[in-house]
Symmetry: D2
């Protein structure tokens, strides 16, 4: 079998992890790595002496590549990904895919026209623990889902071209889409800029989904503890997924409340409570990034496979973030996510 020939743009914080994983795949080869910083390229060279390097993403197009991986700061995603698709490369872009939905729409359209794979790096969709949560939900073990509460906080590095919502919320929004098989309808959001005026470092988002399901996100760069926790509450059972835990990432609580079928009078008001066992399922762990990289290669090698974290999914995340921004500017009022859709459809 021919190996998929890959060029990676950006080897700062996250890029080296992508490079390491693509190199370890049997059916992929990292041909060239691009970065503006020479010392980062030197570091890559010392680890992988046979990889070519370059300082400009146009250097990619001098090699006979099949695909590009874009792991640069988000502000440059759109321009680089556009050039890659334009030059006929299947393209993987780190999250958030772009900084506005219009740009993202153009990438999706271009990939569609050129029949190229466009994939976004929503890593958690490839995380065995998240997949186990989805399996538990899909089995019906939790009953009907009432709501999801997600907390993703730590003392985080402020990034110059993102606020905390664009940095951290893509993870939760993509996880929610993956778990619920639904897109959010509306957002209410509050954001605080405690350190730099105008740059939110703390935010709370409340999402409404079809079927009365809601989700609440607590996002912060300014918290003493590192927390990555998602609580899923259903009519039968409840579940907590804690990604910080090494061994016991998921707990299924056999707890619930059942309302009586009907109540004639207020005096009859009562529920029955169930307090049962807690189960911590064993999860066979594999590095999510490895699964993600393999999936990108699989999509390239086999036309019939579509990326789970597709460009369209990236677009949904960006549209949700935009609606959250609008809500924050309007005192937390409810904003619909498809307002964007309308704008885009008239513009494109």
């Amino acid at each position: 079998m021919e190996k998929v020939r890959i060029g990676v743009v950006g080897c700062g914080y996250w890029g080296p992890n992508l490079i390491r994983n693509f190199i370890a795949l049997n059916d992929a080869e990292v041909v060239i790595v691009i970065d503006k910083e020479q010392d980062r390229l030197n570091h890559i060279k010392s680890l992988y002496p046979n990889v070519h390097v370059g300082v400009n993403h146009f250097d990619l197009f001098n090699y006979d590549l099949d695909a590009a991986v874009v792991a640069t700061p988000p502000a440059s995603h759109y321009e680089i990904a556009l050039d890659c698709l334009d030059n006929g490369l299947h393209t993987f872009v780190e999250k958030p895919i772009t900084l506005n939905s219009l740009d993202c729409k153009r990438l999706v359209d271009l990939a569609y026209k050129k029949k190229l794979t466009l994939m976004v790096g929503h890593t958690f969709e490839y995380n065995p623990a998240v997949r186990k949560v989805k399996e538990i939900i899909d089995n019906g073990d939790l009953g009907d889902i009432y709501y999801v509460d997600a907390v993703r906080v730590n003392l985080g590095l402020f990034s110059p071209d993102l606020n905390v919502v664009w940095d951290l919320a893509p993870h939760d929004i993509s996880i929610l889409h993956f778990l619920l098989d639904q897109d959010p309808v509306s957002v209410q959001a509050v954001g605080e800029a405690n350190i730099f005026s105008g740059k939110n470092d703390l935010a709370y988002l409340h999402l409404q989904f079809p079927d009365k399901i809601t989700a609440h996100l607590h996002i912060s760069w300014l918290d003493p503890r590192k927390v990555r926790r998602i609580t899923v509450v259903g009519s039968q059972k409840m579940l907590v997924y804690d990604d910080i835990e090494n061994m016991e990432k998921i707990r299924i609580y056999d707890k619930g409340v059942e309302k009586p079928p009907y109540t004639n009078t207020f005096a009859e008001f009562q529920c029955s409570y169930r307090y049962g066992d807690v189960i911590i399922p064993n999860i066979q762990f594999t590095e999510p990034l490895k699964i993600e990289c393999q999936h990108f290669v699989d999509c390239i090698l086999d036309d019939s496979i579509k990326p789970i974290s597709s460009g369209e999914q990236g677009l949904l995340v960006v549209q949700t973030l935009e609606a959250a921004e609008r809500s924050m500017k309007n005192g937390g009022q409810r904003h619909f996510i498809n307002e964007d859709e309308l704008d885009i459809s008239t513009m494109s």
Copy 2:
């Protein structure tokens, strides 16, 4: 010294704890206990054979009492407290003091006119751990306070005459007032009624205080874990108070972010981070309820002492809850708390 003679109305869930603590005080005496349920009265009789019992709160007024303690379901607080004050008794009312601010205003006015102590059972203001948090804040150890995040969730017993906000949020609102020495200005709130239509079992409140401090409350009766945690983030240090912990209730994190004094260009954008030690201060524990009961008795015996959790504080909590209700009905829009103040001042 004469003992303060007390009558207790309501000995269901919380009443017996109040009775036990008042009986244990040297300068108080529980003369009579009132409850509609005979088996509860029998239980009290078996524990304290010398206490009188009755089924109607008017029975209180046949005994020569100094004070009344009202621990009945909240819907009856107003009527009973009004009668007690009317009959010249110093009155302690469990939280929430009333179910609307107008009623509460009337109690406050009546107590003022009659020169009687009116106190509300905001227990956490008498909790040694909360007082330690206040001491740490007041010392300036945390620097300027940026925000507070509070979580108070569990699989809770639905109560027929309250929703989750009125049941749980009074604790956090009174703690916030106590810690910050400030009243909230506005609220944005979302609430979900997952089990009973129209009865919120999950809510998120976002409060704004003067000086740009904000607070966020996560309140739920429908969560698999029991959490009572308050995070206080300051410009110098950060603190987590976890009331579920037996021994290590408070953790002070020597962590922080400092923004540079000014930035000429975007390229200069940067902050300095501090990751230091964690300190878990030793706290000498006393039952908060004991301190609270003694404080009520002290206020009665000494005119110069005013209750920390006064009727006015109870009013503030009720006004905040009302503003939260209005916000929930308006899609999470920001509502000001002193809208009520205006209403009340014109009405009373």
Copy 3:
């Protein structure tokens, strides 16, 4: 039904808990309480005005009692319990029942001759969590038991007439007897006296039971953490019982090692490992002391009921502690527990 009339000797640290529980029973009555300290008697009087008090245990015999409860310092257990049995009272003695096995043997013999109930306060045998562990073991869920590891440490109050082994190990030895339905055969022990010369504040005991089961106890008054944890390892599953946990006291690990049926050569050496789910069973909690007190009363009212924590069990614990003391004095050598039995049989 007549109520069992009880006198309690000793109301210092633990006595008030026994008094409170016996008073709350429907078929028992605390008639008189004895203590040398007048302020403790005053405290009891303030709580229970109808109870008589006295300063000498002989005062018991002036009341028409059925039973005595001995909760004095251990050094006085033997003398008081002997007098109580001699005067025809069913007798409950706190642990350790006596400070040497000869005394204990005499109490057991006297109770036998007089057909009186003699019971020792091994509270954990009445603890719902311990009983759940026994149920799990008896169901065969763990397979064959390999070994038990127990840790019972904290920064403990040194007591003037006991060392740490006599203070804390009775709990674990009685739990082991209860769980395994077996008596230990031998002990190897090391003890350290870090603070007071000659008074152990740290000890490790290794017990051998029939059927190759072993148990190891880590006992300390000089540890920064409070730990009460028992690990039971079986051929099928493993279990951890952590009494400090509020809600999740027992965890059953579906983990195990299976050795191959036989191995011809060293090269074939291999085992199969099983890593499965963890289950935290829900436990309905009742105060163990309440169950224990009711059991004592039941044994008095119904001749056919024998105490679970009988005088004979108390004797076994004391004999095990004596063997541990001998081992400590002999450099940790293995000592058999029935060496005592032989001594006693010749003496009595």
Copy 4:
């Protein structure tokens, strides 16, 4: 500067970590890797195409090397290390350095004669958390050390040529030597072979050091939880080092007991207790293996630097393990560690 040219023997479980770290050093170069398994060599080749490979450790001597790293199964350590030293190579051997002290003594003697560095892979001596613990002890913060309690248990992979004591206890024994700057004097040990007859999978070791300090090790391959915890109890403070914790590895408890200067009578018996704050010091983390590898290279490049984990330290660990084995065979009796010393001195 010339790079130290290294050959690595063994790239199974641990070898690849050593290779990765030596390659990343500026002043070292991995020239050749040896393993009996071709697929492991292929794996190394795919990662580092420029490294030579071989199947027999004699292949090392065909390259112009400065040093050898031995990471094979322990049974082959002695023979391979002997050949390496004989051929003039500085030699690093994984722990346990050999399976008996006589072999180890010969390696130490040979390295001494040939003026070569002999170092053993006691990784924890290069662990920033262990070094922080040593700093705290050396500062006198804990006061006089009373005792150390160490727990190192998990569901471990049984190894064909070691029992659990030889596999896990070297870590704790080397840590104890490092922390206390003392060698243990005697051992009392019990070991259980629950799965394979004759092969201990559970052991408890009690070590005595000069100055009345003691240490107790709990070692197991048959425990449901993974624990790596060391408690150090001093006269002033107490410390717990938990290597499983990601961020909070060390906790210093300001807790202690002080005995009175003297007691005239038994009635005066009393201590004073101190319950103070807990401090979790911030630790700057670096991979211990990186520090260890650099240290080996430094010892080679600079004659004046002696390895912290020297061959002599390896010998001490092996002698302690041998004394523990003797104690286990003699019912847990106390065995002195220098019994070996005597044997060796007469033999060599």
